[in-house]
């Protein structure tokens, strides 16, 4: 049995689960923060993404140019820079005056970032709705807003729910970056354990396992949505 004890000793040195148990409340708080930060950012991104998608396919050049510029600006710059710009740089604009706190800045940056990617997904969904549907709605006298609200968007969203869930999984992973402007969330819990005990493994490996858990849950959601809706494929 000596080798077993030896292994146990080595394992405790590599990953001391007692430290993890001791810091369980912090990991729990971090997990919870990651979940609700992601939820608010996703709500922001979905509403923004829908508006931008509609603007992007409109015939009005001002409207689609603004939408396209926003999407390209977000897609061509790293999220970390977007977070820094919004948190550090925006308050320097005289009209804003008040400094956004870390949480507001982080959520705003995550929402703006995911909004651009989601708008592209939603746009593809809208464009996949058959032209006959719009023509039918027009022929019964629906206005533009009514057509969008009752005919186009419900069909578009039904098709893009799986890829939107995939994008949400990306958003949850990306939310780890807001720990660098001082927001306490799941990755922040790992940083905290490291800073207090100087043991990286107990902090970061535990956090990694929890992120994986969220990811598999999101994959399960995307797959069941896909099965129920029949159509489009789930994003990886």
């Amino acid at each position: 049995m000596d080798w077993l004890l030896g292994f146990y000793d080595w394992f405790l040195g590599f990953y001391n689960y007692r430290i993890v148990i001791q810091y369980l409340p912090e990991f729990g708080r971090g997990l919870w923060a990651t979940i609700w930060i992601s939820a608010i950012s996703m709500a922001l991104a979905l509403s923004l993404g829908t508006v931008v998608a509609i603007m992007r396919i409109s015939a009005n050049p001002i409207s689609w140019r603004i939408a396209a510029g926003y999407v390209q600006a977000i897609r061509s710059t790293p999220l970390l820079v977007q977070i820094y710009v919004i948190y550090f740089a925006l308050p320097a604009l005289p009209l804003l005056g008040r400094r956004l706190d870390e949480l507001e800045g982080g959520i705003l940056a995550l929402g703006l970032n995911a909004g651009a990617f989601m708008s592209e997904i939603i746009r593809a969904g809208i464009q996949s709705v058959e032209k006959g549907q719009v023509e039918g709605a027009m022929s019964v006298g629906m206005t533009y807003l009514q057509r969008m609200r009752y005919v186009v968007l419900p069909q578009a969203f039904a098709r893009v729910i799986p890829p939107l869930l995939g994008q949400t999984a990306v958003l949850i992973k990306d939310s780890s970056l807001v720990s660098f402007i001082g927001v306490f969330e799941l990755f922040g819990a790992g940083l905290f354990v490291y800073s207090e005990r100087l043991k990286p493994n107990e902090g970061y490996l535990t956090v990694a396992a929890l992120y994986l858990l969220i990811y598999f849950f999101m994959m399960y959601l995307a797959n069941s949505a896909q099965r129920r809706l029949g159509g489009g494929r789930a994003a990886q």
Binding site: F88, A92, N201, Y215
Partner: protein, 222 residues
């Protein structure tokens, strides 16, 4: 403001040069690793597929920040001497692994997009499986891989911003240093950093869009 721009520009260009170097090295190693994984996955050997599937899902399911910290902080705690990595190789390894998961999916999807009849035709004239892959499938699949690789390159460029947290002097890090010299000009400095990323990424995205029109799109989710 003009003199702030003038005095920080050389630093930022040094950072951009580092970002460029990291992204080039990473797309090289990440593509080789990813192509190998994607090829192996199309061979449908169950145990290999299970291992590679676990590799891809583990990397896809955790933030890149975690990969970076695992390679840089956790590997050294195993006590194995060749896993004691400096910041630069750690960043390259973590980024290449992250890239490889995307490349693997694209290579696999492109190979599977080549019509089955092509393989059957090649086999029926007596080519071996390797010859079929090399002379018939890969040349056709390669064309399909070109447009999505542009998207991956942009993902890498943006990913390099994160390695600033382990102290690599790339563009974001250079920006942070500049803000320490000019703490009142945050807006200008981060604005310049963002513009530099844009100037690097946007042409790549346009090129990828153009390639999509030329070579067609690929469904990477299958």
């Amino acid at each position: 403001m003009i003199d702030v721009i003038w005095s920080t520009l050389p630093f930022l260009f040094e950072g951009l040069w580092m970002t460029f170097q990291i992204s080039i090295v990473t797309i090289f190693f990440g593509s080789i690793l990813g192509a190998a994984i994607g090829l192996l996955r199309t061979m449908n050997v169950t145990p290999v597929n299970l291992i590679l599937g676990a590799y891809i899902h583990t990397l896809r399911g955790t933030p890149f920040l975690i990969h970076l910290y695992v390679v840089y902080f956790i590997l050294p705690t195993t006590g194995i001497s060749w896993l004691q990595l400096e910041a630069f190789p750690a960043a390259i390894i973590a980024l290449s692994m992250y890239t490889s998961t995307y490349v693997a999916e694209i290579v696999r999807a492109a190979i599977q997009a080549v019509p089955r009849g092509q393989v059957e035709g090649a086999r029926s004239v007596g080519m071996t499986a390797l010859q079929t892959m090399w002379y018939v499938v890969l040349p056709q699949a390669a064309k399909l891989m070109i447009p999505p690789m542009g998207g991956i390159y942009v993902i890498i460029i943006k990913g390099t911003s994160i390695v600033s947290v382990i102290g690599i002097a790339e563009l974001v890090r250079a920006g942070e240093h500049a803000t320490q010299r000019h703490p009142r000009e945050l807006m200008v400095i981060y604005g310049m950093v963002a513009l530099m990323y844009f100037a690097y990424c946007y042409p790549v995205l346009r090129l990828a869009r153009w390639a999509e029109g030329k070579f067609g799109t690929l469904d990477t989710n299958g």
